[in-house]
Subunit: 314 residues, 2 copies
Amino acid sequence: MSAASPLFPKIALIGFGLIGGSIARAARAQGLAGEIVTTARSARTRARVEELGIVDRVVETNAEAVEDADLVILCIPVGACGPVAQEIAATLKPGAIISDVGSVKGAVVRDMAPYLPDGVHFVPAHPVAGTEHSGPDSGFAELFINRWCILTPPDGVDPEAIERLRAFWAALGARVEIMTPDHHDLVLAITSHLPHLIAYTIVGTADELAQVTSSEVIKFSAGGFRDFTRIAASDPTMWRDVFLANKEAVLEMLGTFNEDLSKLTRAIRRNDGEALFEHFSRTRAIRRGIVEIGQDSAAPDFGRPHAQLGKKAE
Amino acid sequence: MSAASPLFPKIALIGFGLIGGSIARAARAQGLAGEIVTTARSARTRARVEELGIVDRVVETNAEAVEDADLVILCIPVGACGPVAQEIAATLKPGAIISDVGSVKGAVVRDMAPYLPDGVHFVPAHPVAGTEHSGPDSGFAELFINRWCILTPPDGVDPEAIERLRAFWAALGARVEIMTPDHHDLVLAITSHLPHLIAYTIVGTADELAQVTSSEVIKFSAGGFRDFTRIAASDPTMWRDVFLANKEAVLEMLGTFNEDLSKLTRAIRRNDGEALFEHFSRTRAIRRGIVEIGQDSAAPDFGRPHAQLGKKAE
């Protein structure tokens, strides 16, 4: 235990996948909790979390997990947040902060808020971080460092509760920003949801072609395709829920994307090299911006490792 | 110099960008050439290549570069291959192997073949490797290791010439495969050209939105978008030429992609979670295949570096 007093005497994590597992590892590493209690839906995951020995206690039910907890974080697919809010409502400690990590915020607020009792502080959150892996073994303490965590507190939430949750995420290494749920959902539709939808689409397309075999797709994937397969390997349940929960914003972004794709398609069809060159030149700047503020590696190829040449005998 | 006799007494590289520069570095490291002569279109690039000191000689014209060369490789955008073939035709050495590195093969064969004299061996090639960087400083000797290089020799080419070029690419670390130009162009349309077109499109879309600022797109790009920006930072001239030269295959793949995107869009609109889940589950397998044959890193997030947490004082 840390000598300084922890931010929260007891933290309850509902769900122990990539995000829940990373929060547990980082919170423990930073001494942010007196006690961390976890639960997960499947007995297999709960057994694995016990084995990992990262948290203080693993319990069987959501209602039991949140008892006496000062901070409760739902680390589950967004579609499950409403039902779980209903399950835990009766055992929540007065004064507790209730949060989540969902990639959609409007739907989560609509689904959870009706069940939460007066006297608890509801501060929805979304750490914009992740990898293509999932499950209890996939988390790591460094996942949130230099990534943004967006808080979308409803009107009237106690500013002190917001500040405590901000301090928690800052201690995990994240930068914290506050916005409305609707604006969050629009921003994420373009920076995360649409990219995933497109990646899932093209990987599916490649998999079903008659003229090119899957084995050829795999072998020659270093031409660009392989970058899309990482995203398209993300957790299917999580992403099903994201698209259903953020339907309107995703469909809106998709409409704009389709218009832009039609424009480039027309330029190809008409042999309009100038239009293509102009478009391809503009898109370099945004990459530079991302690298400059440390949101991606400046190393070529994301810093992928390259093998060494075995030198020819001299 | 290597003690063993080099594969080619003299190699001429026309163009010194990412690919030409990587070939020069790797060929030198492996002792594959008695002499490497290079030229580039701009005086600035030629001066930089002189400074780098990787090649034996830098000359001003393409015609001069290929004199006495046993292997000539055009490392330039595919749209420039026809005109350059015309320029070098008169000074090519009888018996020389003429090759290229273009991402489209049908158009390159059509553009170059008419100019090449009898008595030289035309063996078009495409190393499926690259990064988002370009220019004389961007190359490195390890670029081709474990990547495929596809040869598309026209009917009737001397098998010995094909074998010598195969041995050259194998010595650079590549695995070599032979196929027809048309099949190559179909395979690359899905594994490389369509992914680039889509990445260029979505990055352009994000850049022009009214509701979400560019600064927000950049900050929250770790949700998936940043992966697309790497590809969309690729060389605009090279990619303009690719789409113009491989128009038919790209439009065909685009048609299939659009059908598949419509299907997923309809599933979102109709709240068909089952269809989404089913699609998202299928696409994981292809990623596994790519990682298994060493075409991508198994590390989460392409192995991107993660900063360490500064431990709280104990």
